[in-house]
């Protein structure tokens, strides 16, 4: 499955940022642009938490989550802080930042840090902040839009303004 710019625009529309997305790329928007390392880490986390069949993850993350995050300065700071906490954790074991790891290693480190069973909490423990600001940020962008939800047969998931026709259709239509 290739994530397209259309997927990104659809996802942005769902979170109220579609109007700017339609006329500008992420580097040209009126929202703040996140730090490069933060963006690269978001892409790295996305590659671990999104299904392997999905291609085009980097452009999707740059178009959707970077724009979402950049729209709120305090939220962006929370994301950057979570990236720092994730890197600190990884460096304690591997002498590398999270982005240096392979996809398999990224998944392993998230689990080792306890992110999988951590409750998302923007002001909680390191693993809880990583869950809230990184993992759930990315999963929300993906599964609250047709981009991810259609992989399980839901073209118009809660949170997405996908109209009032899909609910009438059967699974084969």
């Amino acid at each position: 499955m290739e994530l397209s710019r259309r997927d990104a625009l659809t996802a942005l529309t769902a979170v109220g940022l579609g109007a700017t997305a339609g006329c500008a790329s992420s580097s040209e928007t009126d929202t703040r642009v996140a730090d490069d390392h933060v963006v690269e880490t978001l892409v790295a986390v996305a590659e671990a938490v999104y299904p392997s069949e999905v291609d085009g993850v980097e452009s999707f993350v740059r178009e959707v989550s970077v724009r979402r995050i950049g729209a709120d300065e305090a939220y962006e700071a929370g994301v950057a802080d979570a990236v720092e906490r994730l890197d600190d954790y990884v460096e304690g074991f591997r002498d590398a930042t999270y982005t240096d790891l392979s996809r398999e290693e990224r998944t392993t480190e998230l689990h080792r840090m306890g992110v999988g069973n951590a409750a998302p909490d923007p002001s909680g423990l390191d693993r809880e902040r990583v869950r809230y600001y990184l993992v759930n940020e990315l999963l929300y962008a993906f599964y609250s839009t047709p981009t991810g939800a259609s992989l399980v047969g839901l073209e118009n998931p809660p949170g997405h303004p996908g109209g009032t026709t899909s609910y009438r259709r059967g699974p084969e239509e």
Partner: protein
């Protein structure tokens, strides 16, 4: 926890000196409450040329924040409620047999509880207005369906109701709904087949959400989070009529909880509503007519707080019925899994019901309204944002969790009982030192019988479908539907009721009470269309007196 920088609306908390909250001069009508009842009365009376002031305890919310509120709903970890609760302003007690989660059941602010309602708007049945006469249960309303019928039509126009005339159990109507209905869902068709085999008729649902664009709002775009928040505004909420009222010259003041009503020396007329501003200053708003439209809990509470030497048991309470006969609808439900795809979670509203079990044969149990859900089971985000797994394992888990759920729910009637009540709790006070409301609520055997019967019907439908039943909500674990009714009941006998058929207090000539608190019985229909109809009727009566 609250994320840093999270917007909650600068207008929601803290002192706000940017708004003039001093009283108005030469006011015809003072309305307490800017929910649907107060907003409709305000809009109609302002349009008739009267000077109207509306006072509401809660804030004015920014519509631009609705998408943020939606994300609070969908993303775990942000512990801010979708609509704010002020722990001092909204403190309450619940001392009845059944715990009552009051602050989950209401929104205080401009627009009131319509900000988080589901938006289902059906007329009461003819039998609802003469329940005592027909089966010896509850009480009769002081008028019949025919009397309220034109106001129901007016209410449907005001709320831009989308609906069809295909319900064989509905009372007679004179014209189609203002907007066409939302067509049935895929899962409605699954249910309809099973119901037909069982001899159960299904039909459409009138919705207060736009199936087409109007001058007031866009058509529904399917965000799927109707309850508790509609980001598009396609679901009706009372801010529409607040806007109308303000456009017609009404003044709507937020964050000014009314502390008490004052009356004249004769005790015949209310003279002022005393309210507090965010900085603690008290003001008196005088008016010729007063309308209290603060819901089924705060309306009786305000009357009880307004006791005086002449009215030691509270204002408008010579009957002793203020706060009594509190009713809600009970939820009954059953859900399970099918071996086929059910296509849930595309929209957040329902499109199919059955009123076949509504009218009562005798007084042994109340009405039952069946609802076929379009949002059974978890959505992908519900699974993804709390799962232990990532990547392909997470996708597999979502695929296992989503897609085959099905559920049928019901609203069940509770007959009015004097011991169910809203009273003041003298042991606790709100931020202004006023005793908080105490909800005393319990269920009786007739309600339990109706819940059991609802479960029997639901079981038969799911069995006919071949579903595996995964959960049941019945007499033992039921909960309220958040429809507060009955606490300032309407009637012809001033010894038994609080307001007359014109929604005016029996005791005070210029005091009207509007909303579901005036319902003598509650039926099992979502109450807001009837609230709207009564509000429009009350506005006419106030207009006649001015």
């Amino acid at each position: 926890m609250t994320p840093p920088g999270a917007g909650g609306g600068a207008t929601e908390t803290g002192p706000d000196t940017s708004v003039d909250r001093t009283p108005s001069d030469r006011t015809d009508v003072c309305i307490v409450g800017a929910g649907p009842a107060g907003a409709l009365v305000a809009a109609k009376l302002a349009a008739a040329g009267h000077d109207v002031v509306v006072l509401d305890a809660g804030p004015r919310f920014d519509p631009a924040e609705r998408e943020d509120r939606m994300e609070r709903l969908l993303r775990p970890g942000d512990d801010r409620p979708v609509w704010p609760v002020d722990p001092e302003r909204d403190a309450y007690s619940s001392t009845g047999e059944r715990e009552y989660p009051l602050n989950a059941a209401r929104v205080k602010g401009i627009g009131g509880t319509t900000l988080h309602w589901q938006g289902m708007v059906m007329r009461l049945h003819e039998q609802d207005f003469r329940l005592d006469s027909s089966v010896g249960a509850g009480a009769d309303w002081p008028f019949d369906y025919e009397h309220l019928r034109p106001y129901y039509a007016e209410a449907e126009r005001e709320l831009s109701v989308s609906g069809a005339s295909d319900n064989p159990f509905a009372p007679p109507r004179e014209q189609p709904h203002p907007l066409p209905p939302f067509p049935p869902s895929h899962s409605d068709a699954i249910f309809a087949e099973a119901c037909e085999s069982l001899g159960i008729a299904t039909h459409s649902v009138p919705n207060a959400r736009n199936s087409e664009s109007t001058a007031d709002a866009s058509a529904c775009v399917g965000y799927g989070t109707c309850k508790p928040v509609c980001p598009s505004g396609a679901k009706y909420d009372a801010t529409r009529h607040v806007r109308e009222a303000e456009a017609a010259g009404a003044r709507v003041i937020d964050r000014v909880p009314v502390q008490r009503l004052e009356h004249d020396a004769t005790g015949d007329r209310v003279t002022a509503a005393v309210y507090a501003t965010p900085d603690g200053t008290e003001h008196r708003q005088a008016a010729r007519e007063f309308v209290v439209a603060a819901g089924g809990v705060e309306t009786p509470r305000l009357l009880l707080l307004s006791k005086s030497e002449q009215y030691p048991d509270g204002l408008a309470n010579s009957s002793g019925a203020v706060g009594r006969y509190f009713m809600d609808h009970l939820f009954a439900g059953m859900g399970g899994l099918l071996d086929r795809r059910t296509r849930q979670k595309h929209v957040g509203f329902i499109t199919s019901e059955s009123h076949q079990f509504y009218d009562r044969e005798d007084d042994s149990r109340g009405a039952i309204k069946l609802e076929f859900l379009n949002y059974a089971g978890p959505a992908p985000t519900d699974v993804a944002l709390s799962a232990d797994e990532f990547g392909d394992a997470l996708l597999s888990k979502i695929r296992e969790s989503y897609g085959n759920h099905i559920a049928v729910s019901a609203l069940v009637e509770q007959f009015p009982r004097r011991e169910n009540r809203i009273r003041l709790d003298p042991s606790r006070t709100d931020g202004h030192g006023n005793p908080v409301p105490d909800v005393v609520w319990s269920l009786d055997d007739s309600t339990r019988r109706a819940l059991r019967r609802a479960n029997e019907i639901q079981r038969s439908i799911l069995d006919e479908l071949g579903a595996s039943v995964e959960w049941t909500v019945g007499p033992e674990n039921t909960g309220p539907a958040f429809h507060h009714m009955g606490t300032t009941r309407m009637g012809t006998d001033s010894d038994e009721s609080v307001v007359d058929a014109r929604l005016r207090s029996h005791d005070l000539q210029n005091l009207s009470l509007v909303g579901s608190s005036t319902f003598p019985t509650g039926g099992a229909m979502n109450p807001t269309l009837t609230i709207a109809a009564l509000s429009l009727k009350a506005a006419d009566h106030v207009d006649e007196r001015l």
